[in-house]
Symmetry: C2
Subunit: 206 residues, 2 copies
Amino acid sequence: MKTQKTESRRRNAPETRRKIYQCADELFRQYGFEKVSVDSIVEKAGISKGAFYVHFPSKDSLMSALIAEYVNKSDFNYRTFEKSFPDDTSVFHILIALVEKIADNIADNVGYNLIKIAYRIQIERKPGTDFLLDYNRDIYSLFRDLVNRGIQSGEFKTEIPVDVIADHFVMALRGLTYEWCIRYPDFDLKKQFREHFEILLSGIKK
Amino acid sequence: MKTQKTESRRRNAPETRRKIYQCADELFRQYGFEKVSVDSIVEKAGISKGAFYVHFPSKDSLMSALIAEYVNKSDFNYRTFEKSFPDDTSVFHILIALVEKIADNIADNVGYNLIKIAYRIQIERKPGTDFLLDYNRDIYSLFRDLVNRGIQSGEFKTEIPVDVIADHFVMALRGLTYEWCIRYPDFDLKKQFREHFEILLSGIKK
DNA sequence: GAATTATAATGACTGTAGTCGGTAACGCTA
DNA sequence: TAGCGTTACCGACTACAGTCATTATAATTC
């Protein structure tokens, strides 16, 4: 090594990490996720490739972190949405409205390109790409609460445990979103969400 | 070019293609899909890299063709299975048995590694990777016929068109299989198939 | 059968994700 | 303050998918 400007403080790893994050973010927004190379990120950040891989185990890891951030930002507050309905609204209708809202958010705010990459990354399951799971946890607890309310009010049957139903609902959401990815643009996510949940909800109605 | 042994017959493109196919197959079986490079395939086949890309637009294209073949070979004959039930068996029970059979086949005969790659390839949607869609078409027509029978016999309700129901069923299969990929091995495909279809089928029961 | 067009094949080259051996700075313990 | 372990960092290097200019051969047209 040529002992050039020995950046006296070697202890700002967090700063380097932030720089990678921010430069990547800017490049991704400008050129799109797929077209940005790790080389171009480290060049813009003024660091070496080795430094990049100190902070992120893979390019996919960085992407999943950024996508999780995008999703959280663009994400509608579903809890608030759920509370906006009059108390006597049937849980059936709230759930249908909710999945329609989720479909709109996925299709319009997040967008095909990001979801496609996120779903590919999830399937690959490389280390450091599990940022996206938190999002699903929130949705899950929301669904569980709603199904619970439906059972309490006598709207839904009691044979199947709440957790099981909520799990199947979230799986259906993910499954249909995967379907959207492989059929896009010939697939109306909102319509399919609605149809599918009308069947599922009929299946747990008393 | 060095005009070496000018393999007199240059017109055996099919032969070259077959050779790629077979060598790839052997290498994949020996080392697993992910660990085999295009370079190693062309070396074993005794051809150049350019020749490979005359016959397959990408490595994924070759893999999807091979996976489709594996799936078709390992695939149970679901039509025969369906016909093996007594005439008075409810369509509900046939459908549950069918999805359980499909789950067994996916989990035991095809296996996680292949399905995972197939589902990644489907999401990427590169040219020449649509071999896997035929399989889905067969399943779809089988489901449509069964749902139809259920409607004819008065077992299922008539509000939703047959095609729509069959489409949602096939989507559910794919969606749950995707879920299996991202949760493996902590996900009992057969159990989840059964549970999910019990809900879906309750939803279309009269 | 000469010219033209289309397809098969070559192999060096490019782009890019990820690796690795080496180094500098810091923290900790004695 | 010397020694030791750990972390951040460097950049040349590797591995691998895919490209391209070029050439050889077969099929088609005149």
